[in-house]
Symmetry: D2
Subunit: 92 residues, 4 copies
């Protein structure tokens, strides 16, 4: 079964912002800016991508690990929060 992502519009908006950040890297390279500028733009894009991944992974955990219609209430809320805490600490 394929699961559609929740919060599609919010995720699309974040993805478009991320694309804008990659385009800024392209412009900086074309304009032959210093590599300090390019490193900073890439570091910002990396943070944005990690944040986006965090959203999608959280959606996956909350909505797709357990089918809520067939198994309502099966996903343990505390255990889910603990897992998300650890994952977020890696997605920085």
């Amino acid at each position: 079964m394929t699961h559609t992502i929740h919060g599609k519009q919010k995720l699309l908006a974040r993805t478009r912002r991320l694309r804008g950040q990659i385009e800024a890297v392209e412009r900086a390279l074309e304009a032959e800016e210093g590599c300090d500028k390019v490193m900073h733009l890439l570091a910002a894009a990396r943070g944005a991508l990690a944040g986006l991944m965090g959203e999608v992974v959280e959606d996956h955990i909350r909505h797709h690990l357990v089918d809520p219609e067939r198994h309502p209430g099966a996903l343990d809320e505390n255990a889910t929060e603990e897992l998300l805490d650890v994952i977020r600490s890696y997605l920085k």
Copy 2:
């Protein structure tokens, strides 16, 4: 509810190996070894710690997100594998 970890002996063995790697960093610092040596020991310890975290996170996802006695079969196997794939790519 608190959940005891599965595979306690295997995890303990990995943790003791990791402690040995940290002790090797201590000895290298005490012996005033070069910082190339210290960096390599730390990089190896980091890999070992990430592997250990991966084991514990996988155990948490497979056994504690859903109580298998109360909700047998509720955890979607495919969705779990997809999540573990993504998490492992971050735990390298």
Copy 3:
């Protein structure tokens, strides 16, 4: 002093490929694909961004930490390789 990046064309090509990967995430979201698909596209984009950052950081270390015209031969080749080894282990 601002330093222009070396290997501009190669970096631009990698950046454009990365932009293409972000656009694939956009298309997957618009087509309401499953979040497994979106997670995999994001994981691939993350790898590409890390590789690009690795190239820029290596360029920065090799060419801009020391002005080669004013201080030829000042950058220690072995120490540079050891540093790049450690940085690459984080850029995976």
Copy 4:
């Protein structure tokens, strides 16, 4: 040439604290604590290890990439700071 690490006592103190954190993981496993507890201890140890690596890498960059006796002033201070900024963003 091998370079002794600067700030040996401070690094040793941090390494011993890190060893204490790994020993706390061992005790938690032996006491059959929940895996939420173990995950949090591991996440803290990972942060400590990353901070220690950051110190050693900074020492390596500041003192060993360029031999300060043979090439005084060759290491560009601004370029060094920019590099350390990027590396720190990965060592979190």
